[in-house]
């Protein structure tokens, strides 16, 4: 404990040198920007900037790259809320509720609660990082393929409860998403699947063209259909800030989201996106007004945004303690270490103490910078929505398509995005929920490969899912998440029948 504090003090001494401060600032600003641009996620952005870290000292380079990583978690909120296009994968839940809030004129509140939630969860996660890294790293290792499969399944079954519509429609849409994700290269055998000989499809259909199309483009199409004479979203200045009531509502959501996100971030293989999805569905379970989820729940946004930031930090634990990547972004951080000639591994904490503690200290500083950047800017960005929609729509289309192009630098992705825009539009017309499709596409690859790995590990026996204590618990959660909507449907049905019977009786007695 004391040792950790002394080391942390040393870390601050390293992180607070002017040069390092400058690079932390540059990192978080870039992260904010990269996160806000759809198509370029934090890990892609970090990979892009990796070569320029060649000339600078390792600690400084890592601090900057890590800044991009968590800065991206703050930035992704922006596009999700304002234009309904997730800036990066981990903000997919925010695109659902955040944008609804924006339409209700509450973009400012959504953005500020995200910033505050991200900040609190981020700082909390760094504190955990300071004190409990080694034991937590060991805990993270007890997760393997069976647990990942069940986690992903939990995400998918829980989608049945997302949105206010019918759970059956939601599950069907999730299956549609899984089908989209089947296209590409088989993760285990490496053979081509449903690609029809197209080399572009060999890498599969990425989540971003689907999300940008189904959320962003479809939204624009549907809005343009109404003959426009519309008024811009009315926002009073008062609504731009977080009210005391909002804060009371979101406090617990931030705490729950932050803790859950951190635990999921720990597991190498899950990452911030899964964390945000699961935090959102958990929050819905605990919320006092679950019906608001999907239609603009501030606490849903708070939970998801807190979760993705604390997961981004949590993923550093297996990386620092064991040298294994906990997410796509930490994989790039590890690559940066390798490029700098530092060998990551279980000995990193001892051999490169200055670097590790400098990094941890830099994350306190970076999160403070991001909060200071984001809070005053939230109402400013929210004010963008005062622009009449017919001027805004072309801009949204441009951002969406550039984002789609940026994912692979090929026009094929742009075509794919437009296609899914059409699909999304039809789904809106048919009153089908769109979020489950996107969630299933995000979770499918983890779900599929971990299921097949589990069965290979167990040589074909399903008992692997109950023999391991952690997976047994997760299995129970999955079953519960399937039964709960069924039960509520059943009770609702009975209640309706009873009331009808009573009516009939009362008629009969008249």
């Amino acid at each position: 404990m004391i040792d950790s504090l002394v080391s942390l003090g040393q870390g601050f001494a390293i992180a607070l040198t002017p040069m390092n401060l400058l690079f932390i600032f540059v990192g978080v600003c870039l992260g904010q920007l990269i996160g806000a641009l759809p198509g370029l996620g934090p890990s892609a952005g970090m990979a892009l900037l990796l070569p320029i870290t060649f000339g600078i000292p390792p600690a400084t380079a890592i601090m900057m790259l890590a800044g991009i990583m968590y800065g991206g978690m703050y930035g992704g909120t922006l596009t999700s809320v304002l234009v309904n296009v997730p800036g990066e994968a981990a903000s997919v839940m925010t695109a659902v509720d955040g944008h609804r809030l924006a339409k209700q004129g509450r973009a400012g509140a959504a953005l500020s609660v995200s910033a505050i939630g991200s900040f609190l969860a981020g700082v909390g996660a760094v504190i955990a990082l300071v004190f409990v890294t080694p034991p937590l790293a060991e805990f993270a290792l007890s997760f393997s393929s069976p647990e990942y499969f069940l986690l992903a399944t939990l995400g998918i079954t829980a989608t049945a409860s997302i949105g206010s519509g019918s759970p059956i429609k939601a599950i069907l849409m999730a299956v549609f998403g899984l089908m989209i994700a089947l296209v590409g290269t088989d993760p285990i055998l490496g053979s081509a699947r449903l690609t029809f000989g197209s080399t572009e499809l060999l890498d599969g259909i990425d989540f971003l063209p689907v999300a940008i199309g189904i959320f962003g483009i479809a939204e624009v199409l549907a809005s343009l259909e109404q003959s426009y004479d519309s008024e811009p979203i009315k926002t009073r200045l008062k609504d731009m800030w977080l009210s005391g009531k909002d804060w009371a509502e979101c406090r617990i959501a931030i705490l729950r989201g932050g803790v859950l996100g951190f635990l999921i971030g720990l597991m190498p293989g899950a990452g911030p996106t899964v964390a945000a999805i699961l935090a959102y569905v958990t929050e819905k379970r605990f919320s006092r007004h679950p019906e608001r989820f999907g239609n603009g729940a501030l606490d849903g946004v708070a939970a998801a945004e807190s979760a993705n930031n604390s997961a981004a930090h949590g993923a550093l634990i297996p990386m620092l303690a064991l040298g294994i990547p906990g997410s796509a972004s930490t994989a790039v951080l590890l690559a940066a270490l390798v490029l700098q000639g530092i060998r990551p591994g279980p000995t990193l904490l001892v051999e490169q103490a200055d670097l590790v503690w400098g990094l941890i200290a830099s994350m306190f500083i970076g999160n403070v910078i991001l909060l200071v950047l984001n809070l005053p800017l939230a109402p400013l960005f929210a004010a963008l929505l005062r622009i009449p929609y017919e001027y805004l729509a072309p801009g949204i289309l441009v951002i969406s398509l550039v984002g789609a192009y940026a994912t692979t630098l090929s026009l094929f992705s742009v075509g794919l995005t437009l296609f899914f825009g059409m699909v999304g539009y039809l789904m809106m017309k048919a009153d089908l929920p769109r979020a489950p499709v996107v969630l299933a596409v995000v979770l499918a690859s983890l779900m599929e490969s971990s299921l097949r790995q589990s069965l290979m590990l167990s040589e074909g026996s399903l008992s692997i899912f109950v023999q391991r204590p952690l997976s047994a618990i997760l299995l129970l959660l999955v079953i519960a998440s399937l039964l709960l909507p069924l039960m509520s449907m059943f009770t609702r049905h009975r209640a309706r029948r009873r009331s009808r019977n009573e009516q009939q009786i009362s008629i009969a007695t008249k």
Binding site: A47, P51, I188, G190, A335, R343, G345, L348, Q453, L457
Partner: protein, 336 residues
């Protein structure tokens, strides 16, 4: 836009570096020189890599590019460009379509040979212009520290007790560790259970979590695990033992009675119809590169080897490598 600069205008180099980072557009070629005379191309050169930054081939080429530029062996700005996707096919196709281009070379790594074999696409190695293979890496067989196997033979005995009882942490079907698994099975007659996780990092995670029994590692990745007693190394798959103090006590599989030789190698190839003068230019540059102290230090630090297969022998070497990989993949039933 970026225009052609004279070859040795040093003052322009910085500017060109900056330009190169933004645009790697192919530049105009000057007058063709005489035969077999090394001649530098004009303008920045792209070294295409099929991995994302930080992958071993990418790290190696970035180091090589830095040393080549720092030591002024090549004065053209060298830009390592990551064109990921399709198990290196995106990178390879990029270079294949640059017929005769002077400013693009391709990093040669195992997938250039194996992906066409496993996916049934036309081979690539014979369409590219071979330049040189100049980096080699050894592979180690590691097991859990509490494994009852004391040496490689003990491990094979263990594997023979129950078919597919030993689980191998794999990166991906058809990758190096899969081929090593196939070679072990062939040499020993044991049957192993190869489980492909998603990439090397995930495989290492599964191994550290105790979910699998065996993993194939390069020495640089094995060292931290050995030091922290998280892995026990049973054999090195090279002809001779490594000489570093950290690895000199690890016996080869061959001296333990199993003829398993496998390793990794990396190099460069040019686009189809590359000018022989350019091949000579690269050949010379690589010879100078491997003689520098900076390169030697890098090779030592990453526990690699650097034996140059020069351009004159590269073609035959490519054919040999292809045939070796084809044979192993056929045995594994992965060749299409």
């Amino acid at each position: 836009m970026h225009t052609t600069g004279s070859i040795s205008s040093r003052c322009n180099r910085r500017l060109m570096m900056m330009g190169a980072a933004v645009t790697t557009a192919a530049l105009m070629l000057g007058v063709q020189p005489g035969f077999a005379q090394g001649k530098a191309p004009t303008g920045p050169i792209e070294i295409t890599s099929g991995t994302s930054p930080g992958g071993t081939p990418d790290v190696l080429m970035r180091r090589a590019a830095k040393i080549l530029n720092d030591e002024k062996i090549i004065t053209n700005p060298l830009v390592v460009q990551n064109r990921t996707g399709g198990s290196w096919m995106v990178a390879a196709n990029w270079v294949l379509n640059k017929k005769g281009d002077a400013n693009t070379v391709l990093t040669v790594a195992q997938p250039i040979l194996t992906t066409p074999i496993t996916t049934g696409q036309p081979t690539l190695y014979d369409k590219l212009t071979p330049i040189s293979m100049f980096i080699q890496g050894d592979l180690l067989i590691a097991v859990q520290p509490n494994s009852p196997a004391k040496d490689f033979k003990g491990f094979i005995d263990l594997a023979k007790q129950r078919e597919r009882g030993i689980k191998v942490a794999g990166a991906q079907a058809g990758s190096t560790d899969h081929m090593v698994t196939g070679l072990i099975e062939k040499a020993s007659g044991a049957k192993l259970n190869y489980v492909p996780f998603d990439g090397g990092g995930a495989a290492a995670t599964a191994f550290l979590g105790g979910n699998v029994d065996m993993i194939v590692l390069p020495p640089s990745e094995a060292l931290p695990l050995i030091k922290s007693n998280k892995a026990k190394v049973l054999a090195v798959l090279s002809e001779k033992r490594r000489t570093e103090p950290e690895f000199k006590d690890i016996p080869t599989a061959k001296e333990q009675g199993y003829d398993i030789l496998w390793g990794q190698s990396w190099g460069l190839a040019g686009p189809p119809d590359m000018d022989p003068a350019l091949v000579k230019f690269w050949d010379d540059a690589i010879q100078k590169l491997v003689a520098t102290d900076a390169w030697k230090a890098m090779v030592k630090e990453m526990f690699l080897r650097s034996e140059v297969v020069p351009a004159s022998q590269a073609k035959a070497h490519f054919v040999e490598l292809h045939n070796q990989h084809l044979a192993v993949l056929k045995d594994l039933g992965l060749a299409k």
